[in-house]
Amino acid sequence: MSILLSSNFQWVFFSTLILGIASGLIGCLAYFKKQSLMSDALSHAALPGVMIAFLLFQEKSFLMLITGAYISAFIGALFINLIKSTTRIKEDSAMGIVLAVFFGGGIVLLTIVNRSSGGNKAGLDQFIFGQAASMIGSDVLMMTILALLVTVVVIVAFKEWKLFLFDPHFAKGLNLSMTTMNGLYIILLVLTIVIGIQAVGVILMSALLIIPPVSARYWTHSFKRMMILSAIFGGLGGAIGTTISTQGASWPTGPFIVLTLGSIFLVSLLFGNKKGLIVEWILFRNKQNELEQNSSLVREGNS
């Protein structure tokens, strides 16, 4: 148990918890914009930016890397939009192209970085797979501040988000600029992805954004409750996953967080009281019985 008490563990625990909450909230927005996989494309698209930042400044400063990641993921988002809106290529292909090409470019740069800079390479390699367990105090602090910022922006403008997602035309009538909201949404999404990559890595980051809202959907029809539940699921996933991963030597944190989230999803899928499989099955049977009884009544009535 001693590891649970170490101050480093507490730092990591706290940061994955708050990261889970932030991504649970942003994930809800992405879910309703039907852009769940956007997060996957953008987290891959962040890689070249990280590498360029490192090549330019030659040091592993968290702020520099995050800025680089941010810029390149943002450019990725612009490209996806450009391809989708100006050609016959559909959104899913556009995301796949940006994902693979940006990541490929990132790997090209990564190899150059690794070759040229000896000692520092470990830190950069971990950017791909996450490095929650080896984060130090100042990284965690920065991550926590950004995640809190995202959380606050989502909560403060709650009713504006709701309008933005469900009734953009009405929102326009209220002088709420959709361009601004959309811009803000992309900024928050990219920011969450970029800080999340640090903890769970490029590949698994999308899980943090996708799984909590999808699971929350099984328990409620209310947008507000769904946001709250999604944040709770995200936080739980982060906290429980981190704790489990400390139980074994060199167990990776990111995958355990994702596996925890996966289990939460499975439970929701089965037992969710609004759309869960068991509830659905009962409803289906009732419907069938009801209809069968009805038609036999009709038949008797006719004869």
Partner: protein, 290 residues
């Protein structure tokens, strides 16, 4: 054949197979399935290793093909249960991939399987791992596997060419005239998984995704005929593979990454200069018609 020759041949085989399979992927709007499957096959490979305790190629291919089809099945099933398709893909592939990584970390230790290798591939080692084939002589195993896969892909696509066309364009009509749309879907997913797995071992997940999606998307900008799209996509795949290789050699960097990047360059050229759908014609045309 020379060392470089083998690498170029292997990468070109990946380019052709993925280019052909990718066309249907784009038209069926399942591009992100490629991303998902290229990650979940890791779980299949690990499971096959844990069950057989060997790194025998055929076990890996079977294991990976099974997980690939399972991924497709789970996604399809969640989708029919009311989960948006992209959300379903996201849930399934991240969870299965995480499971794969955890199994590697806890059960396998780092025998020969490491995640990074799987993602980025090591095409540079391919020419060393050879097998003796009658008449031809020593052939790298990966090259041989990919040749088989290419024939399989060609066989399945050509054999059911009109069925692919109709189930992709108008599944409702296809179902109404008795073509088993669902069976065709899973047949396609099997072919996609096998291609992914064979290519994955040689060049890594990211290049597979790049090769599956980007050349086909680029070809889609140049032609209005399905057959031409297949041919162009395969050519773009080969071109990216070869161009990517020489670029990597030039600046001494990752070959797979460079090939993935090269597909992007081909795409960029297409999106700018394609006569009908390119951005230049898009910008110029309004002026020309004035």
């Amino acid at each position: 054949m020379t060392y470089t020759g083998w690498i170029l041949l292997t990468a070109s085989l990946v380019g052709i197979s993925c280019g052909i399979v990718g066309v249907l992927l784009i038209l069926r709007r399942m591009a992100m399935m490629a991303d998902a499957i290229s990650h979940t096959v890791l779980l299949g490979i690990v499971t096959a290793y844990l069950l057989t305790q060997s790194l025998n190629g055929i076990h890996m291919v079977i294991g990976a093909a099974i997980t690939g089809v399972l991924t497709a099945y789970f996604v399809q099933w969640l989708n029919t249960r009311g989960v948006q398709q992209d959300a379903a893909i996201g849930v399934v592939f991240t969870t299965l991939f995480a499971l794969g990584v955890i199994l590697i970390a806890t059960k396998v230790g780092n025998v020969h399987l490491d995640v990074k290798h799987a993602l980025m591939g090591e095409i540079t080692f391919i020419p060393w791992d050879t097998i003796d084939v009658p008449i031809i002589g020593d052939v790298p195993i990966a090259t041989l596997t990919l040749t088989f896969v290419l024939f399989l892909v060609l066989f399945v696509i050509v054999l059911f060419y009109k069925e692919w066309k109709i189930t992709t364009f108008d599944p409702a009509l296809a179902a109404s005239i008795g073509i088993p749309v669902v069976v065709m879907h899973y047949l396609y997913m099997t072919v996609l998984s096998i291609t992914t797995v064979a290519a994955f071992d040689a060049v890594g997940a990211i290049m597979v995704v790049a090769m599956l999606i980007t050349p086909a998307a680029a070809a889609y900008l140049w032609t209005d005929r399905l057959f031409v799209m297949f041919v162009l996509s395969a050519i773009f795949g080969v071109f990216s593979a070869i161009g990517g290789y020489y670029f990597a050699v030039l600046i001494d960097t990752s070959i797979s990454g460079s090939m993935a990047f090269a597909t992007g360059v081909v795409f960029l050229i297409s999106i700018l200069f394609s006569p009908r759908h390119g951005l230049l014609s898009y910008w110029i045309r309004p002026i020309a018609t004035k």
